[in-house]
Amino acid sequence: MKKKRMKSVLLVTFTSILAVLFIFPLIWMVFTSFKTLSESLSSAGLFPNEWTLEHYQTIFSASADSNMVQWTINTAVVTLMGTVIVIFVDVLAAYALARLNIPGKKIILAIVIIALTVPGIVTLFPAFYLFKSVNLLDTYYPLILPYSAGTLGVFLIYNFLRSFPQELEEAAYLDGATQWQVLTKVIFPSIKPVVTTLGVVTFLAIYNDFLWPSLVTNSDEMKTLTLGVATLVQGSNFVNPAAMMASTVVATVPALLIFLWANKYFVKGVTNSGIK
């Protein structure tokens, strides 16, 4: 037993060292954002010698070349709307496919699975051109709507419902409930975990999406945080690691907080994603 305990202590120590190394870039990001410009360029240490808030003041000031406030607002609008729409569309479809005897059910299910195997790159540029043709580039529409065409959510919820007992719903029907009542009062509460998972996955996917928003956005005012950070990285005059890290902290913290809050569902969702 003593030997086993010893082994356990060694394991925990080793994993902890790895974890610190792993987290180091994030810690470095936060501390660098509080360094002065000259220190951030010459420093080989983690902690600032001289703490400063100037970079945060600069990126949020009215004269800033970065539109951090507007980007944050855009990101909030796009991710929240996008996630709500995806959940709404996918839950309704998955419910109908799993529980109702609707016409064309087999074809729709086949479509859902085939679409999962087609790489996203093949629809990306034509979709961009379609939005261009109807003059909707640089609006919220292309940043929000296309995510609801993804079939993964339908697939996840459909699988979950298929393995979920139907007795409760049948009892509700016998008591004279309508389909809509069954959906909102019986189904929805029971699929809450998988829906939460889908919500978090979708939220982070939209929040962190880069290629698609970069195609359909032209103006600085329409950018999301993820896209904005890319603009700052590519900006030729942005040779200031401290200011860059301040922007990155601002762009990253909301996603990290959401992630930590929903970590439990995220972990579960990956397990439940129908891989086995």
Binding site: I102, P103, I108, P241, A251, L256
Partner: protein, 338 residues
């Protein structure tokens, strides 16, 4: 369930939002993309007429402009797959094995820690690694210079092989948590009774890993491999932002090549053809991986490598011992059908 014809069609209303969205934002772009790829289609002025398979022929004819773009970026992308997939699978499996052997509460904690970077966008990851590995004023160079390990700064993002090294490090750090999580969950489901029985019979750690753990996480490993290869195919943000495709286009990826063709050369037709070819290559490789693992799976079952046999090998003793412990296979936890 008893349904009249009317309720059947009312039920159909539930799928309409999804079908509409799928039709507009997936099926139409897919078919439109195929159509565009058969035309001389410019981004600025639109369609210049039907040209059949000319775009594809151009891309596949050696030493033409678009052939160079496509082949060079395809070669770079395959290079990135070769460099990034092994560490993404092996390191994540190693981490998962470490975490699996920790006490339960710490398990949850470390699982979250190593999954944390997954919540960050590719642009933030790139910004971070660009300045960690910056040539002038980057943290790693400062550190190496200050400790005297190098005498002049290394041009991490502008010279090979350092450029690939930084991109691979950034990618591994960014996405390893997802693979690790899949492995940790799979390891969780390996029946502890099998290990206990093997312990009693004095099996070595390696034999337990080889004959109990590995066969049990086989399916998840195949899934991890396929998804990792697909993700590496889609390399874009890291090489765009960290190395800008350089030095001399050596890290320019397929998506960057397609992007340049569409926006730089104004050729939406050629770009769409390239995107379709890329999609086709990805589907073929995924299919091959799937087919090969399926074939192996079948061979193994046919050669009688059942749970019982695995157990025998793990304990490295004769089959007689196995029959005295049939409970190990019977008690095997039932997998969740999802």
């Amino acid at each position: 369930m008893y349904m009249t014809k009317r309720t059947k069609w009312i039920g159909f209303l539930f799928v309409i939002p999804f079908l509409l969205s799928f039709l507009i934002f997936w099926l139409t772009p897919l078919l439109y993309g195929i159509w565009i790829s058969l035309h001389d289609f410019r981004l600025s002025v639109g369609n210049n007429g039907f040209i059949g398979l000319k775009n594809y022929v151009d891309i596949l004819t050696p030493d033409t402009l678009y052939n160079n773009v496509f082949m060079n970026s395809l070669k770079n992308t395959l290079m990135f797959i070769v460099l990034s997939v092994p560490p993404l699978i092996l390191i994540s499996l190693g981490l998962a094995l470490l975490i699996d052997n920790l006490p339960k509460r710490l398990k949850t904690f470390f699982r979250t820690v190593f999954f944390l970077s997954y919540a960050i966008s590719v642009t933030a990851v790139s910004a971070l690694y660009l300045w960690l590995f910056g040539a002038n004023g980057g943290f790693i160079n400062n550190l190496l210079l200050n400790t005297g390990m190098i005498s002049s700064p290394i041009n991490w993002t502008g010279d090979q092989p350092y450029a690939w090294f930084v991109i691979v490090i950034a990618t591994v750090w960014w996405t390893i948590g997802f693979n690790m999580l899949l492995f940790v969950n799979a390891l969780d489901e390996v029946d502890p009774n099998l290990y206990e029985a093997a312990d009693l019979d004095g099996a070595s750690s390696w034999n337990k890993f080889r004959y109990i753990t590995l066969p049990d996480i086989r399916n998840i490993s195949i899934f991890v491999m396929i998804t990792t290869v697909i993700a590496s195919f889609n390399l874009y943000g890291q090489s765009l932002l960290i190395t800008r495709g350089g030095p001399s286009q050596s890290t320019s990826s397929l998506i960057m090549g397609i992007h340049a063709t569409v926006f730089g050369n104004n050729q939406l037709g050629v770009g769409s053809a390239m995107a379709l070819l890329m999609g086709l290559i990805m589907m073929v490789i995924t299919g091959l991986q799937y087919w090969m693992s399926y074939r192996n799976n079948k061979e193994e079952t046919e050669s009688g490598k059942s749970e019982k046999k695995r157990f025998t090998r793990a304990t490295n003793v004769g089959p007689t011992n196995v029959s005295s412990r049939p409970a190990t296979t019977i008690e095997k936890k039932e997998r969740k059908v999802t």
